[in-house]
Every structure is written in C-alpha cells, then in structure tokens.
C-alpha cells in the first residue's frame, strides 16, 4: 500500500515537472520552428543553440512591472491567470504515460489515476479552463479584453460540442470511458485513428480551437484586439496565461496520442522478446515521441495557416464540424451494430 502511494507521489511530481519543462521548451521550440519556417535562425544567443532562452524569458517575465489596472476587479484579476494555470496542470492526472512497471512481482501502472470516466474528467477540466480566460477578460475592465473573453467563451462552447461528439463515436467503438483502458485496447498497431479517421480529424481541429491556437486564435488576435483577453496583464500573470496555453497544447497532444495514436503502444511490442519493464520504458519514449510530434504539428499549422474571420470560425464550427461529427456518430453506430449482430 505504501509503495503504491510513493509511486503515485513520484508520478505526480514527475508529470508536473515534465509538463512544465515541456511547456517551457515548447516556447523555445515555437520560436525556433517559426524562425525555420520563415528562413530565419531563431533565438540562438542564450546558451548553446539558445537553449537557455526559456530561462531568460522567465526571468524577464518575473522582473517586469506588475500592473493591476485601477478599475479592475482585483480578486478576479488575480484569479483569472491562476485558474488558467491550475486547470492546465490538472488534466495530466488521467493520462497514461506508460504501461505498467513490475516491482517485486506486483504491477504498478504509470498513470496517476485511472478513473473510469477519465475522458469526461479531462473534458470537464479543460472546459473550466475557459473560465480563466473569461474571468481575466471580464476583470480587466477593458473592452478589448472583454471582446477577447467573449470570443473565447463562444468559441469554446461551439467547438466543445463537435469535440464531444467525436469522442462519443470513439466511446462507441471502444466501449470505454477510461483513458487507460482505451489505450490498452490499442495494443500493438490497433490504433483508433485507423477505425476513426473522421473522428480524429474533427477532434484535432477542435483541439486547435480549444487551445486557442492559430487558425483559431481569435481570443487573442493582436491585429484586432491589441492582446485579446490578456491586454491588461503584465509580468508573471501574463506569463501564466501564455504558459497555460503551452501546457494545454502539451496535454492536448498527449490526449490525442493516447486516444487515437495508441498512447504508449508501438507495433511489434510483443515480438521483440524484451522484458516487461523494458517494453514499458520504450513505450514511454514512444509516447513522448508522439506527443512531441503533435506539439510540432500544432506549431506547423500555426505558422502555415492565417487566422479565420470570426463568422468563418462559427460557420465552420456549427455548419461543418457538428454535422460531420453527427454523421460520424451515425456511421460508427451502424457499423458497431452490424458487427455485433454477427
């Protein structure tokens, strides 16, 4: 019993540290990749290859002057970024980072908790995340911030529907709501993306919208809204908002890899003839490779596509994504029914 607790504690700390570390280095990666896509070199002065850049950015953020506008609601103003950061860090608990490790004959899963409604939990927490944006924008008492917050909330609601529907189809094929179990079912190469290509497409588009990433970054579009919901924020509070976005991106990538790309599973994992712990270790690396690929994918899209106009965003969400998701649910339902009859 005690060993379980210790392992869980280590896992919590490790996941937290890794999430923060990856988010910090995503900021570096983002700038590097943006630069490479634009034929530039990107940050390369702080440390070798500019690897200390996230540190320099962090110091810069903390050293900046902290301003709370005179007419802002102080409590809510502070609550906003805190909530954004908190919810961003909370989703990590249901993600299975690896299979099980064997210590003295007992197996311990590399997942902080495998609650049986893992998917619902993840979506619930992600939806709370929008409150961070809304509260921050509202509390700033600034029309640009308010507009940004409004856009964020309506965008979240619109895309959450399609996202939920794409998950419904996934739940129908797997018959499970626990993320750990869904990943276990995708053993080897039985990845869900093969059975749910349309669902995956809808899911990833919605994930972009949920993370406020280009082409759906309307809540913070600089060209129209100054800075969007974080116009009035400065110093580390702004840092928290920006950082939360990167953590969300990391978590989204992890969820996408877990739900659709087999998580820690990789082809031929049984036929290599390795020990159980060895397979698990490789699995963890495979999982992180997938996650990092999806983070790269997020950035790749960001530096390729321009931002949508707001009506286009809503049209896409309500008139394309939701019908498509419903069709997907229908087809999946029919196929599942037919297969079960035989």
């Amino acid at each position: 019993m005690e060993l379980v607790l210790i392992i869980k504690l280590i896992l919590v700390v490790a996941v937290f540290a890794i999430a923060l570390g990856i988010a910090a280095y995503s900021t570096y990666g983002e700038r590097k990749i943006a630069a490479f896509f634009q034929d530039r070199l990107g940050p390369n002065r702080a440390g070798p290859f500019g690897l200390l850049q996230p540190l320099a950015d962090g110091v810069k953020m903390i050293m900046k002057e902290e301003i709370i506008p005179a007419h802002a609601d102080k409590t809510l103003f502070i609550l906003g970024p805190a909530l954004a950061m908190l919810t961003a860090c909370m989703t990590g608990v249901v993600i299975p980072w690896g299979s099980t490790i064997e210590i003295g004959g007992a197996y311990y899963p590399l997942q902080i908790t495998d609650i049986n409604i893992g998917i619902l939990y993840a979506f619930a927490v992600v939806s709370i995340g929008v409150y961070g944006v809304m509260i921050g924008g509202w509390a700033s008492n600034n029309k640009y911030a308010l507009l940004g917050a409004l856009r964020a909330s309506s965008q979240m609601i619109s895309y959450e529907l399609a996202m939920g529907l794409s998950i419904v189809a996934l739940v129908m094929t797997t018959g499970e709501l626990s993320i750990g179990e869904i990943v276990r079912q995708q053993h080897g190469w039985h990845w869900n993306v093969i059975y749910q290509p349309l669902g995956f497409l809808i899911f990833i588009v919605c994930a972009f919208a949920e993370c406020n990433r280009t082409p759906f970054d309307l809540p913070e579009c600089e060209t129209e809204l100054v800075g969007g919901y974080h116009t009035e924020y400065s110093s580390m509070k702004l840092g928290f908002y920006l950082f939360a976005e990167y953590i969300n991106m990391f978590i989204s990538s992890a969820i996408i890899s877990a739900l659709y790309f087999g998580g820690y599973n990789f082809p031929f994992m049984d036929s290599l003839g390795l020990s159980h712990n060895m397979v698990t270790t490789i699995g963890v690396f495979v999982f992180f490779a997938k996650v990092i690929f999806f983070i790269f994918f997020f950035m790749w899209i960001r530096w390729t596509l321009p931002r949508f106009r707001y009506d286009q965003l809503m049209n896409l969400g309500w008139k394309k994504m939701i019908p498509l998701a419903i069709i997907n649910v229908l087809i999946t339902g029919c196929v599942v029914l037919l297969l079960n009859k035989n």
């Binding site: 490479f36 896509f37 034929d39 070199l41 790749w300 899209i301 390729t304």
Partner: protein
C-alpha cells in the same frame, strides 16, 4: 509586360468540391512551410558576420587629424549649419600658446558633439567642411540602452594620433582631395 514567370491568373469562378473541402489546400500549404524548414537560412549573424557594404557607406563620423597629429577642425560651424537634422553642436575656443601641436588652426572646437540619434547620415557635414576635418566612415554606430550615450563627443569622434589609431576614410578622403 511580364516581370517574372511566377505570375498566376486569378479567376473568380466557383470553387470545385475539392477546393471547397479546404483540407487539400491546407496540406499543400503545410508542404510549402515544411520545405522552408530545410532551406538555407538568410540570417546574417551580425557581430560575427557582417554584410558587405559599399565603399561609399556613410556611418560613424570621424574628426580627422593632419599628418602631424593636429586636429583639423577649426570650429567654423559650417557643418552644423549644413546639417539638415541639426545634430551637430560645438563650442569654439582659442588656441593657447603651446597648443600648436594639438590644433592646426588658431581656433578649435573645445566641445564637438553629434547626436547620433538625430543624424540621418546624409554626409552634408562632410561636404560642407572647408578643413577636411569631418568624414563619415564605414563603421556602424553600436547600439546602446540609453539615449544620452548616443551623443558622441570628441572622445568618440576624433581619431587617435598614433598610426594604428588613425581611421581610414577610404575613397571619401581621396574624392575630396581631388576636388580641392
């Protein structure tokens, strides 16, 4: 007239289903950005690598000395009058007996300042100078954090006396001499 062969005819005709599906276009765009990932980077790593500049480049001014190491400038103020940006200010002083080895004329500039933030590097001061005292050189003015550090006094403008501290003005000096 055709300038490049990259022009494309644009039409407003109805989009085909393929075009309206939007995804093929996205994939194509991602292909373009991905190809840029491996292209040669155009960045010039400035302090270590410098872009070649023209021989007539106009940068950081120098106040020249003559062959005997005396300052050429006589504080006539013609450069300040000529300057369209009003960047030059100076204070004139009379040469003291015994200072003949420092200043070529009886009058000299005890203070000579150019505000490098005002200067537009037009080179009119150089053209106006009757004493061949001021020249623009190919040196780039370094960046700084404070505005006041951009007011360059004589310490930053006058060249040194020893041969290695002299500042070459290249073709600019030669061109002037021919006109004289």
């Amino acid at each position: 007239m055709q300038l490049t062969n990259r022009s494309k005819v644009v039409s407003n005709k109805e989009m085909t289903l393929m075009e309206r599906a939007y995804l093929p276009a996205i994939v194509k765009g991602m292909g373009i950005t991905l190809s840029h990932l491996f292209k040669k980077k155009v960045t010039i790593q400035y302090p270590e690598v410098k872009r070649p500049i023209a021989p007539v480049y106009r940068g950081w001014h120098v106040l020249k000395r003559d062959e005997q190491g005396r300052e050429n400038c006589t504080a006539c103020g013609l450069c300040a009058v000529a300057c369209p940006a009003e960047a030059i200010t100076m204070t004139a002083a009379e040469r003291k007996p015994g200072d003949e080895n420092l200043y070529r004329e009886e009058k000299y500039a005890s203070v000579y300042e150019i505000n490098m933030l005002r200067c537009i590097y037009c080179g009119l001061c150089e053209e106006a100078c009757p004493k061949e005292a001021i020249f623009l050189t190919d040196r780039i003015v370094p960046s700084d954090m404070l505005r006041q550090n951009f007011i360059f006094g004589k310490d930053k403008l006058v060249e040194g006396t020893t041969a290695d501290k002299r500042i070459d003005v290249g073709v600019r000096g030669g061109a002037h001499r021919k006109e004289d």
